[in-house]
Structures are given as structure tokens and as C-alpha cells.
Subunit: 258 residues, 2 copies
């Protein structure tokens, strides 16, 4: 089985033009089929402020009303996604920007209103990889932003970490899939204040041990649950760390495997 790398980047790279361009140069050098997934960073909030659109919060999370969805679509699928694609072309990495609506690649359903109405937020229900495989086979790199659709004409805001893991799971039948979450830390840390206390390898057993010792910080829990969700569905491995884990052989990061 051929190896496919799915790489997710977030705000710490996207929000800084130099970091982003440096990353994209290194990304373009990665050989073999690859897919890039990016979050939105701070630009959407900034645009909402410029447009005088109030951000509605529900239970500490931003509510995606129609206006916010428009902003997200403009910023994620427009400004950020196309800037990334144009930069990758500069570095001779042929790429095409995607939402989950493009090629009907990621189908989701609007989150049901129970106690909280999150608005136009979609939970992934199906990933179609056929068109993406065709593109990968001719050397094209898909670049995904964090938007999906319901196949009834509605775009939906979807968590970028989830998009990355669902794509990795979808591809796992055809490829040996490796999922990389790039963020601002070196990985899962034993001591949040010590960036060198990286836990380099985590399996199910180790994960239980860390949970029992209460070592995993709050923000890390949903990330790790996402990782094991992928691992349990045939994703070969998941790596968490700074983006340099992709190209600097001496860097430390966390690898999660079954």
C-alpha cells in the first residue's frame, strides 16, 4: 500500500504570512501523495469586526448563523484557501482548493438542536475519496478548508481537526494513511510548562495510563480522542507536534499508533 500523508495546520501557521510561506515551501518538498487541511485562524473574527457583525456565543462557542457562515466561506474557502493554493503553485506543488462541497467529497448533516443551537455547523457523515484519488494519481494535492455540505445546497462549518481525521479514515482503504496535526507545541507533554517533556509514543494502553494519572491537559483531550477515533478506523498512525516534525529529522513529537 502506498503511503498518503494528511497534514493539518492551524492558526499558529496561518495567521503569520512568513510562517505560512515557510511551511508551504517545506510542504511542497514532501514526496508522495499528500493532502493539506487548514483551519481558519483569526482572520474570520477580524473580518466580522470590520463588518460590524456581532459574534454570538453559545456555551463558550461561536454560533454559526447565516452571516457568520458567509464570513467563514469568504475567509476560509476564499482568502486563505486560494492564497495557499497560489503559494503552492509558486513552489511547483500543483494543488486544488476544496470544501467538502467540491467533488461532493465531505457530506455532513447540520447538528441537531438539542439544548444548544450551534447554527450552520455540520457533523461529517460520509467521505467520498474517488475524485480525490483521481487527482492524487495525476500528482495534484487537494487543499481542504473547514467547510462541508449537506448535499441539499447548504454549506456547513465543520471543525478542521475532524475534517483531517475523517479524510484520513476515508483514504485508509486505499492508502497507508498517516495523519499529522501541526500545532504550537511539540506534542503531548507530561508537563505543560516544559516543551521538552514530550511523550513520544502513545498507544491505547499508554493513553489509559496517562488519563488515569490525569496528565492530559483539557485542550488535549478532544484532540487525542480524534486521534484514537482515526486509529481505530485503520489510519496507520497519527503524529502531533510542531510542523517541523514533517521535515526536521531531529525534532521530537508524539506518535500515536494502535
Amino acid at each position: 500500500m502506498e503511503t498518503l500523508k494528511i497534514i493539518k495546520i492551524g492558526g499558529n501557521i496561518i495567521d503569520d504570512a512568513t510562517s505560512l510561506d515557510n511551511f508551504l515551501l517545506e510542504f511542497s518538498k514532501i514526496t508522495g501523495p499528500k493532502v493539506l487541511v487548514h483551519g481558519g485562524g483569526k482572520l474570520a473574527t477580524k473580518l466580522a469586526q470590520q463588518m460590524n457583525i456581532k459574534v454570538e456565543m453559545v456555551d463558550g462557542r461561536r454560533k454559526t448563523n447565516a452571516e457568520t457562515l458567509d464570513i467563514i466561506t469568504m475567509v476560509y474557502a476564499g482568502k486563505i484557501n486560494k492564497k495557499i493554493v497560489a503559494s503552492l503553485q509558486k513552489h511547483s506543488c500543483n494543488s486544488i482548493g476544496f470544501t467538502g462541497a467540491d467533488g461532493n467529497t465531505i457530506l455532513s448533516e447540520k447538528r441537531l438542536v438539542k439544548k444548544i443551537d450551534y447554527g450552520f455547523v455540520g457533523d461529517v457523515i460520509h467521505v467520498n475519496t474517488a475524485v480525490l484519488e483521481t487527482l492524487l494519481s495525476v500528482g495534484v494535492t487537494p487543499v481542504f478548508c473547514a467547510i462541508t455540505h449537506d448535499n441539499k445546497g447548504q454549506l456547513l462549518n465543520t471543525n478542521a481537526d475532524t475534517i483531517a481525521s475523517e479524510l484520513a479514515i476515508g483514504f485508509a482503504k486505499k492508502y497507508q494513511t498517516e495523519l499529522y496535526y501541526c500545532f504550537e507545541r511539540k506534542g503531548v507533554l507530561l508537563d505543560v510548562n516544559d516543551d521538552d517533556s514530550v511523550v513520544e509514543n502513545i498507544n491505547q494502553e499508554k493513553y489509559q495510563e496517562l488519563l488515569e494519572k490525569n496528565i492530559i491537559a483539557d485542550g488535549m483531550l478532544p484532540k487525542l480522542n480524534n486521534c484514537f477515533h482515526a486509529i481505530n478506523q485503520k489510519v496507520h498512525k497519527v503524529c502531533i507536534g510542531k510542523s517541523e516534525m514533517l521535515y526536521n529529522q531531529n525534532s521530537k513529537f508524539t506518535t500515536i499508533q494502535a
Copy 2:
């Protein structure tokens, strides 16, 4: 040779949600390979106003400075393009949104500053159809917005009519290419005030005749020059009229052929 239809729509369809959805339903029913090209309508101007960004005019035309290019990228490639793609999926027409940067499909160069500096405006220098042909062959419809790139990382604003004709020319080696310009009139009119005075067929000879009689209105001249530019480069035929020319057999429109 298989027939390929390149269809361009403008503000009269895009700016009205009902018109757009009706059009996309009819578009989705067109059999055989097809490509959609859309302009930007009034939404970009509206967003610029909301963001308090002043539109700089040079010689009666909007100047594309960096801020305006961002707005165009957000509105054309984000909001409009993704709304169209999501609607087409609803109508079971599998589509993928494109700028000229995606798949390195349309390469342009920043217009040289002579008397007037138009800013980030690109003139098309090359069209790569290989990736698009791959997608068409698996039943995917590319949907282009009016943005290209210079392959050095810079996105550029490009006229949507030009994008449509350059794509048609690029595809003419592989397909019998038909180019359709949908706009608010029934075609080239003998009398601007009479929508039924459509000139149904124009060739080079007829064109010269109309020019000599001073029948062609000012706004029509660049459109027709664009058409003959395409015809002279092996595009099979160009049709100009209301979008109903695509699906209503009784409608009158103008056909341009060599």
C-alpha cells in the same frame, strides 16, 4: 470530437438567488461535458462598502489594489463560487470550484503599468487543460470564478468573459468547443430598444457589415471581439443571449461562427 460547452453567466443571474437557483437547475440537466464560468455581480462592491473600503476608479474602471483583490477573492472564490458548487451538488451535478491558481489552470501576467495602473489585474497567457480534462472524463464539472494567478504566488483579477473564451480556446484541441455568453439581452440587436431584433447568425462578413452600418452598440464591441478571437482560434461556435437559449428550443439568440 466530443462537444464541450463552456457557459458564462454574469450579474443578472448571480445577483438574484431565485434566478441563480433556477439557472443552476437547468444547467445541471445539460448532458455531456460542460464548464461554468461566473462573474462577480454586485456583491464585491457591497462588501467593500460594508468594510468601508473605498473603490479607486481609474479611467472609469475599478482599480484592483491589495484590499480590493482580497475582497474579490473572498466574494468570487469564496461566497459565490462555493454557493454555486453546493447548489449544483443538490441538483446531482458533481462540480469543483476553480480559480486559475487551482490546478495551475490559468496562468496570467500582471498588466503592465503604462498610462494607467490597474493594480492586480491579470492578462491570460496560458491555459492548462490537462487536469480539467481528467475531471471532465470522470463526470466532474469545473466551475470557474474570475481569478487567475501568475505562478509566482500572486492571485490576479481577470475579466470573466476573457476567462470563458480562453478556456474555450484551450479546450478546442480536444473538444468541439461551444461557448455560451449568457447576459440580460437576447443577443446582438439591430435596434437596442427592440429585444426581438436579434441578429441570429453572424460570421466575419456579417460582422464587418454590421460594423460599417454602425449597428453594434458600444458595450457589445468588446464582447464581439472576444467572440471572434475565440472563433479565430478553433472554437466551434459562440452563442450570445439570455440563459434560456441553453434549454428553451424556441428562444432566439445570436450564434457566431466562422
